[in-house]
Subunit: 335 residues, 2 copies
């Protein structure tokens, strides 16, 4: 099923309005969900909307709670998310980082006590569209074993980095597991295997079966000890800078809420010159495009290039929506 | 061969004094090389000293060139390294970032036109010992194929992140290849295989033989497409923010010089409180220590914990020095 982008957003907005969101907040929240699917990030868009509404109904996500300022010091601010909607809180904090970077050249904004922000790349893109390099990271509930371990004790702690580029930013958006759980859920639904080992089954054997990894909860850290170490460092950065929960503390809760995040913006207009930026981007993207490939007929892409291509395709043909997901969303609109 | 730490440094200092370094700069440069080996990072310490002196002799590294300020804007500065010694330039810039963070809460300092900084972790530790979170990253000459490619077009672009902790900081120091070339050289010298596939041989087959990867120059990115993407983003960050060379531009030179770097410091004393920091660190390190393991009798370490253990061992027993390396160093002292 494909829907025109302009049809999808109002459906979500209407549901949000009926679940305690004021008009402006419903609009933005709906747009962020719909744009994620528009961009082809099917693991973190519309498919998560029913569970998001469910967490609103259960009081885990509090629709009208906005962030409150805890601390301000030069180019650094710390905010409390008050368990508001994760995507609205994150959007707010990246906007603060962008504004502060206009004053200081760059800025960092921490956020504690917030909820799942859905797609990490959303906030990188937000910064890049304001001519900032945007970096953001979050911790999560434990869902990956640290290297050498046989139990999930660290989060897959996603990070996004975005660089302004037209018509679509250069964007890396990745979790520290070789595959995100969202991606594994999508492939399991399609009955597909992973392209390489992505975790351990319950007998601690490496496997490329998403169902086995979803069952064990033992996703492989990307790059083995390297992804494991980077996940630990991200947890420390977000928890120390925000004064919020570590993955270990989130683990004590009945489900994932109250996570910690960090948003960084560099105001390129002030601290770099446009000609140099264009040169660097051209050199990097040209070099990748011209790389000889292993698989004949394939191509080396820059980070975000395939997302851009999927976005263009979906704008033209409509957003692909899983029928089960759409049925659940329509039901929410009628309950 | 093991030498007392206090014996090694003066030998290096003396050689540096005879190759154009003034007294203070020779002292610091010698200390950074010796401390790297003291910390057990054998791939980036004394073993690189003979090649470093050779690059001084050939005019690639210019011992008395200091960084000059290009741009200053709030919490951001940009410096030109003037092809001075990479470790002294990097030390200077992280010190600038630390100083600026005292004024602004955090700061970022870019550096262009510099040389190999040897061990990335050095500058993370430098910040952590001043109660800052330190983050630093560099680009390199191309030495890794981007994901899907069959030629080395991206750098392995190391990054270090350090968090203050006593008696030794929590420290992640990693290149974007699954193994650094330095590490592969060490294992090749010892006649050992890599613990897992670390790159492609010249027939584009994955291999765990360091010699085959050193020959092909095709190291595997850590986490496949993930390390590849992060390497590209690091190249963009350092080149855009410093206005310096990308990996692609470095590739046009006869050897690696004039790289681009970035140094970030967060002044924890101002922007966080000590009790929260201690809580977060205790939660993270306790959680890792208590993780059930795959290999009976093993242990899950936090990043930098094994470095701390090697440092303690080397302080007690003396620094292990490869006899060939020591012979080369002694020869330099006499030429």
């Amino acid at each position: 099923m494909r829907f025109d982008y302009s049809e999808v957003e109002p459906v979500l907005t209407n549901i949000l309005l009926r679940h305690g969101f004021s008009a402006d907040r419903a609009d933005l929240c709906a747009r962020l969900f719909a744009e994620t699917t528009l961009d082809g990030v099917y693991s973190h868009g519309l498919n998560r909307f029913p569970a998001f509404i469910d967490s609103v109904k259960r009081g885990i996500v509090r629709p009208e709670n906005e962030p409150t300022l805890l601390r301000s010091c030069g180019s650094v601010e710390g905010w409390d998310g008050n368990l508001g909607p994760g995507n609205l809180n994150a959007w707010f904090c990246m906007q603060r980082a962008i504004s502060l970077s206009r004053e200081h050249g760059m800025a960092a904004v921490s956020l504690r006590n917030t909820n799942h922000w859905m797609r990490a790349g959303t906030y990188g893109l937000q910064a890049a569209r304001e001519n900032c390099i945007g970096i953001c990271m979050t911790n999560t509930t434990p869902n990956v074993p640290p290297w050498g371990g046989r139990e999930a004790k660290i989060g897959n702690n996603p990070i996004a980095i975005a660089v302004p580029h037209e018509p679509y930013p250069i964007l890396m958006d990745m979790a520290m597991s070789q595959f995100s759980y969202g991606k594994m859920e999508v492939l399991e639904k399609l009955g597909q295997k992973l392209p390489c080992a992505g975790g351990f089954d319950k007998d601690l054997q490496l496997t490329d079966e998403p169902a086995a990894i979803l069952e064990s909860g033992l996703a492989l850290p990307a790059g083995n000890w390297k992804g494991s170490a980077l996940a630990v460092m991200i947890d420390l950065l977000v928890a120390i800078l925000s004064g919020g929960a570590t993955t270990q503390e989130i683990a004590t809760r009945s489900e994932e809420y109250g996570v910690s995040q960090l948003f960084i913006a560099f105001d390129l207009g002030q601290i770099t010159d446009a000609e140099n930026r264009a040169r660097a981007i051209k050199e990097v993207t040209d070099s990748l495009r011209e790389t000889a490939v292993i698989e004949p007929g394939s191509q080396v892409f820059y980070p975000g290039q395939q997302t851009r291509m999927r976005r263009e395709e979906n704008l033209e043909k409509g957003i692909p929506v899983d029928p089960d997901t759409w049925e659940k969303i329509i039901a929410l609109d009628q309950d």
